[in-house]
């Protein structure tokens, strides 16, 4: 009984930590969860995941480097960032209600897939050329700046674009590329 109460309390703590933004960016680092929930936190997250599944949500783990091929170590989990994301997908109508027009979505897809195809880095000008084919000219820079502000991409001082934290948290890169190639 005491064990059950313990897990119920920890589950609430984990929910509060993951749903509410504590930093500038959403999500919580593994070490923060360990500090609050104890070293057993991966088990609590698995439990939370089971509850979230019913709501079409999931706990997403984004590792600092590439996703480990085997079971992640404690150190890798500590450095990873955990988010609550949608488990399924959205319909175009839903995205419109979230403030994303089809132009914005297509522009983001073009930008991200071009960066992935070019080994994670591409000149802004090159992406702009591609975007001009699909979007009105005045929207091109506006859209790229919006993707940067939202954290999907970032730009270095040489004008090179690369993927940022939100793409790693939200986009299934392999599915995106596979679906594009299959078309």
């Amino acid at each position: 009984m005491r064990k059950k109460t313990f897990y119920a309390t920890q589950l609430k703590h984990a929910t509060h930590m993951l749903f509410f933004k504590h930093h500038r960016k959403p999500g919580v680092k593994g070490w923060e969860l360990r500090k609050r929930l104890g070293s057993d936190y991966p088990k609590i997250l698995a439990l939370l995941n089971r509850h979230l599944e019913k709501l079409d949500l999931q706990v997403k783990t984004v590792f600092e480097e590439e996703k480990p091929s085997e079971k992640p170590t404690g150190a890798q989990l500590d450095k990873a960032r955990f988010y609550i994301t949608l488990s399924g997908t959205l319909t175009p109508k839903e995205t419109k209600m979230m403030g994303w027009r089809i132009d914005d979505i297509a522009g983001l897809a073009i930008t991200i897939s071009t960066i992935i195809a070019k080994k994670g880095k591409v000149a802004r000008e090159e992406v702009k050329q591609l975007l001009r084919d699909k979007l009105p000219g005045w929207r091109v820079d506006f859209s790229l700046d919006r993707y940067i502000r939202a954290g999907y991409i970032d730009q270095d001082e040489k004008g090179q674009l690369y993927l940022d934290w939100r793409t790693r948290a939200e986009i299934d890169e392999k599915t995106l590329i596979d679906l594009l190639v299959a078309k």
């Binding site: 999931q58 997908t89 979230m98 880095k121 000149a123 979007l135 939200e170 890169e173 599915t175 190639v181």
Partner: protein
């Protein structure tokens, strides 16, 4: 002696070429295997005994540094190609160009799982907000500060409006028609004329005025623009008779920058 100097100069040129090549790999996302590492290393090795002063040795060190960066890029390239994410970039680009944006959007939605996030106010930011609110001056006091200049209403003469450039001396439509005639004259014998050759004049102010007038020629259907994206050249094509734009057709805006640098470049080009 002069053979030695010649050899040194040749060596410096080679090193500079190596540095430029390695730089362009990173800047333009080129295939890093364009650099034949063995070959460039042998060049550096060949000229190394020639370098005596610090400047030459720095150039040599910079070349070695750039080669190291190129090797790093090659290693990243191989790593990327061995991942499951690797797909020919040209294939992806081709797909992106051919697919309509609606379809690209639908594909993206199948791979997008947005983060759920709730923003809430923290005690610290609440405290900050209270402080700001308390320090705010009441609205009636702030408006007093802004004040405003009270001007008596009156009438303006035609001369005053001309001076303030609110109205033009010549009737605008007449001026536009005259401008259209000039365009047709200049394009006589060919069906189009390069944009800058038409708007460009001796002074920057006049060039801007002509560019402004040209924009009306295009908007009102007296001429149209053609863009050669490959050569980055814009042409103006005058119509024999004005063609009004069909209402159903959506207008496309083409912003053309007329900066002082653009104008200087054009002048330079014309001189040469």
């Amino acid at each position: 002696m002069s053979t030695n100097r010649h050899k040194k100069r040749l060596g410096k040129e080679q090193l500079e070429r190596i540095i430029d090549l390695c730089h362009s790999l990173e800047g333009r996302s080129l295939d890093p295997f364009l650099v034949d590492i063995d070959n460039v290393l042998s060049i550096i090795h060949k000229y190394f005994p020639e370098w005596k002063n610090p400047e030459e040795l720095c150039l040599d060190a910079e070349a070695v540094h750039q080669i190291a960066s190129a090797i790093k890029l090659q290693s990243e390239w191989i790593k990327h190609r061995s991942t499951s994410l690797y797909t020919d970039p040209f294939l992806i680009e081709d797909k992106l160009r051919k697919l309509p944006k609606e379809e690209i959007g639908t594909i993206f939605l199948k791979s997008w799982h947005p983060v759920v996030e709730l923003e809430q106010i923290s005690p610290a930011s609440l405290e900050e907000a209270i402080k700001y609110w308390k320090s705010l001056v009441p609205l009636d006091e702030r408006w007093q500060e802004l004040g405003g200049l009270h001007v008596e209403t009156g009438t303006a003469t035609r001369e005053e409006l001309l001076k303030q450039q609110i109205i033009a001396e010549k009737e605008f439509s007449k001026e536009l028609e005259k401008f259209w005639e000039e365009l047709k004259q200049k394009a006589m014998g060919k069906d189009k004329i390069e944009y800058w050759d038409f708007v460009g004049t001796e002074t920057y102010e006049e060039t801007v005025r002509r560019a402004y007038m040209t924009s009306f020629l295009v908007t009102y259907g007296y001429a149209t623009l053609e863009v050669d994206r490959l050569e980055e050249i814009i042409y103006i094509i005058p119509f024999k008779t004005p063609i009004p734009m069909p209402e159903a057709k959506q207008a496309v805006s083409l912003p053309i920058s007329i900066t002082i640098e653009d104008w200087k470049n054009w002048k330079e080009r014309v001189k040469n």
